[in-house]
Symmetry: C2
Subunit: 315 residues, 2 copies
């Protein structure tokens, strides 16, 4: 008996979702509801949101840790029996009507691709940063703030994430500095007010860190502008919160149109410049990076992938 179309194509997925943060997991939930044959790759389930100490702006949860919220997303996804593979995606290419996704363990054929790879944290790029990483230099306040009970720590950056990190640190440390290159924090106004009202936090404006020093652990940082008469600021720990860059290697492989920041250009239906490829979440050129915005894009991406698939299978 001749194998049916579906048997012949049994190695082919309807969609491969790369990334398992808020956007990728939402895309996976929707893809499963559309009964698409779905594969999800995500080295870290939850992504960047895992590092958020408190999330108070995902509608429906007044206050929840980022990790806990992402576990709720994961439980939701588990209801549809769509596993998340921790294989590392190393490449992607178009192959006729299909796409081939390569990982460190194999390669996978799929009719559509949803990219939700998010961002990679930016490094400061100063002497001492690499050497003292994990020895007082940190990139995740939620993860490492609890080690600073009774100590002095600083946050580099002026974003909402940076301010949230400072607020969290103030719950442990005796003294927290925020060191920011500009004259005014760019955090949300409500967060700025919390910073101003917090007696433990001091903001050092229009100042950059030029080096991190210490024998076996952080002892001080060097500033480019004197603070209280000194270029040296003694510290036990430094949290670097200066943003993140788009994780766009798969997007590059597939030749997707991107903006000057390296974010994937999408339209209002989460379509990229290449047919069959969709994107959602922090990797896209949507300016406002929020869990609920990325989740909305994830739903749109799965919906668009579903209708793209219908067009492919019933031309």
């Amino acid at each position: 008996m001749e194998p049916s179309q579906s048997t012949k194509k049994s190695g082919t997925y309807d969609t491969v979702i790369i990334g398992a943060g808020a956007a990728g997991m939402t895309a996976a939930i929707y893809a499963a509801r559309y009964r698409m044959r779905t594969k999800v790759f995500g080295r870290e389930v939850g992504g960047l949101l895992n590092e958020a100490h408190k999330v108070e702006n995902y509608p429906g949860y007044s206050s929840i840790s980022g990790f806990e919220l992402m576990m709720r997303f994961k439980e939701h996804l588990d209801h549809f029996r769509v596993p998340v593979s921790d294989e590392n995606v190393t490449g992607a290419k178009k192959d006729g009507d299909l796409f081939v996704i390569t990982t460190d363990k194999g390669s996978y054929r799929t009719r559509t691709v949803i990219i939700a790879t998010g961002t990679i944290r930016r490094k400061l790029g100063v002497p001492g940063e690499r050497e003292l990483k994990g020895k007082g230099v940190h990139y995740c306040a939620t993860c490492d703030a609890p080690f600073y009970g009774g100590k002095t720590a600083a946050v580099v950056g002026g974003s909402d994430s940076a301010a949230q990190a400072a607020l969290l640190l103030s719950e442990y440390a005796d003294k927290v500095y925020m060191i920011y290159r500009k004259a005014r924090l760019r955090a949300e106004p409500i967060t700025v007010k919390h910073i101003q009202d917090n007696p433990k936090i001091e903001v050092i404006y229009t100042t950059n860190v030029t080096a991190i020093k210490g024998a076996s652990k952080v002892e001080k940082v060097v500033l480019d502008t004197p603070y209280k008469g000194s270029y040296d600021l003694p510290l036990d720990g430094l949290f670097i919160e200066i943003g993140a860059d788009p994780a766009n290697t798969v997007a590059q492989d597939l030749g997707l149109a991107m903006n000057e920041k390296g974010e994937i250009r999408i339209d209002r239906e989460a379509k990229t410049s290449v047919k069959g490829v969709f994107a959602a979440g922090d990797i896209t050129d949507t300016d406002y990076k929020q869990a609920v915005v990325g989740a909305g894009e994830g739903a749109l991406a799965a919906w668009s992938a579903y209708y793209c698939l219908q067009d492919m299978l019933n031309p």
Copy 2:
């Protein structure tokens, strides 16, 4: 002493949000976080989603009733002490740099407006519909399905909402018909499978209801195509689930650009064609009507309103 700028303008809101469904409440949560002076009008907190028996696609909640989910949104909003007024918005107009929103109880000046008015359920428009409304003719299965224990009911429509209504009815009624004008349901594939697997539900395709009959309550409907040899289908109740029209009277008042369906055209930042006016949720021209998509738009609308306000106040 001369009153300060803020005292003089004390009657002016930073933003007025019209609608308190998923999109409107998310906009309100974000507006509050931006410390904007915010007024929310919503005759029905929760909006259309209140009527959903089960919501299984709002990420983070595997399965929850629409009413319960909307109560979680409301509790979330309550944390920011932003009340929802049940005044009925009757008109809106531009007045210089401001907007004036009129309700049945007063008028309100605001710098920006966020429209999240959603949709109004569509009527069938056949004889007997108005007369027998509430006497066997229903528009909300979640609200009224429990009255049909052991009875026979039908749903008109083929959308996902219609199919969900039929599934819910089948938990009470002995027999449920779906009457649909087309040859194939347009519900989500997973929902179609549930319909097909349900022994109580029978779908009557390519058929319209032309009249609803009954002395003091629904007794039967008249079909335009015979079913099992008869134009009459005896029923205890009829649930009309044929979609909804955009609630766009405020949009019309403000002269916003709309599409052919009467939905407000927005860009990727939830901006409408009129500066200072934003829209989110089912009222917009986003094709995919989902709670999480509307919530994402609500966040974007508040963010855009906030930056619009910054531009107005610091030109």
